[in-house]
Amino acid sequence: MAIYSTNEFKAGLKIMLDNDPCAIIENEFVKPGKGQAFNRVKIRNLKTGRVIERTFKSGESLEGADVADVEMQYLYNDGEYRHFMVPETYEQYQIDDKTVGDVRIWLKEQDICIVTLWNDAPLAVTPPNFVVLTITETDPGVRGDTSGGGGKPAKLESGAVVRVPLFVQTGEIIKVDTRTGEYVSRFKE
């Protein structure tokens, strides 16, 4: 793997730090007029998702990480693993719930997700920014209400619970922003 020096730490670069694959988020050059130069670097640990701040002497280097983001179709859940497939090659990957993490509540069969691979092993799953899901359970709305106002919780087919306007009913299909977990609109096919 390539070696990267602090001056090559650009946002998005994948490097190995403390034996974990990480992505550079931000890199600030800090140098006293007379004195040692440092790089203050914001780094996301791709295994845990945690963001940490680290400091390096300018010119220090880190090993690159073999990390790739691959578009895959979510196939099904066998109870133990979630199965994904690369549409072009039909190559399949099984991913455990721990790796899938919190985003499991947005996974819908056939949706195209981004699977982050490290040395060809799944590291993380990123769902589409917007997903379309059916409401499986929500309290009946108050008659005459149109939009706006408080809203109510609605359970979706994937297991997620989102706040929806009062007029939206069980069985309806809605569009949700997975980055914020917020209701966007009713979905008309």
């Binding site: 600030e28 800090v30 007379k34 300018s58």
Partner: protein, 341 residues
């Protein structure tokens, strides 16, 4: 207004349009011109002489923290290595030693490998020297100059002056003059600065650079000019040591909004001590396997012949402009930053 590029145009490279436009806007060009005019008027009214010294010189500073640009002069069989100056300090001190009286210069300085929000490898320095001034007199003049620069844009709150030890203690609780590895490393770990021990080891000066840059400097000079003086002796650079207390050096740094703007000294004029400092830095360069640099013998000879007592300071004008114009990054006040040149 944008030029229409045809596909077969020579300006077209790898499908992307060439970015020829300046990095700053036209208003900031005018602001720079005003700043330069105000600065020249300020020094003219005080009878400080404007000078120019060469940007290319056969000698350069030995400071192991400064990387320089090296160029090659060639004229027939005559060949010479010339360096782009990292600062005009040595040449200006030779003028002072030759009897120029108080002088100032606005010039370009070059530092290799420096790039970031507040760094551009080529930048503009204002540097001046006042014969007969001590550090506190120089600091007073700096405050007046800043007052003059900022008066019409954003009135500043009164200038604050603190010693290095005071600000270091205030923000870290540590004693800057007395290195205590236990105390320093315990503090760093408590602040989640996990890299401190690995980077700094047992080098006091490195610890000071690290902790000051990360933990102290960001707090300095919110909406006012903050001067930090009386630096620890291990960070003396080209300053004289304090006569009463040899643990501190007669050095001052300027900060606004957590950004370092300038560095000044009550100038060292002892040729032997200067030579010793050069040799220490040369040894450090060898130790760190950095390119070796010869001592500037003409500068040392000038000191030997006698540099009058004086105080001097260099201020990064691009950073001042950045603050005057409210820009977030130095490239927005440069006509063409390094990425656009």
């Amino acid at each position: 207004m944008f030029p229409v590029l045809k596909n077969n145009s020579v300006l077209q490279t790898s499908g992307a349009e060439i970015t020829w436009r300046p990095t700053c806007n036209i208003a900031d060009l005018r602001l720079r011109a005003q700043l330069l005019a105000a600065t020249r008027a300020f020094f003219a009214s005080r009878s400080v002489l404007e000078v120019e010294t060469p940007v290319l010189a056969p000698a350069t500073g030995t400071d192991p923290q400064l990387a320089f640009f090296e160029t090659h002069y060639q004229f027939g069989k005559e060949q010479q290595t010339l360096f782009l100056q990292t600062s005009p300090e040595f040449a200006m001190k030779r003028l002072l030693a030759a009897g120029s009286g108080s002088i100032f210069q606005i010039c370009k300085a070059f530092r290799n490998g420096e790039a970031g929000r507040f760094h551009n490898a080529e930048f503009t320095l204002l540097e001046w020297y006042r014969i007969g001034f001590d550090l506190s007199q120089l600091m007073e003049e700096v405050a007046q100059l800043f007052g003059c620069w900022f008066a019409t844009y954003q009135p500043l709150r009164p200038t604050q002056k603190n010693t290095y030890s005071e600000v270091f203690k205030r923000y870290t609780g540590l004693d800057a003059l007395c290195f205590d590895f236990e105390a320093y490393s315990t503090y760093a770990l408590a602040q989640n600065l996990t890299d401190a021990v690995r980077i700094c080891g047992h080098e006091h000066s490195l610890w000071l650079d690290f902790l000051f840059s990360l933990q102290v400097q960001p707090h300095l000079g919110s909406n006012h000019l903050e001067m930090v003086y009386a630096y620890p002796a291990c960070q003396a650079s080209l300053a004289r040591l304090n006569q009463q207390d040899s643990r501190i050096a007669e050095r001052v740094e300027l900060f606004m909004h957590g950004i370092e703007l300038g560095n000044g000294f009550f100038e060292l004029n002892d040729a032997d001590e200067q030579e010793q400092r050069f040799e220490n830095e040369q040894a450090l360069r060898r130790q760190k396997k950095l390119p070796s640099v010869a001592k500037d013998l003409k500068f040392l000879a000038a000191l030997q012949s006698g540099l009058p007592d004086c105080a001097g300071i260099a201020i990064g004008l691009d950073r001042v402009l950045m603050l005057l114009s409210g820009n977030e990054s130095i490239e927005h006040v440069l006509s063409f930053s390094r990425y656009r040149v």
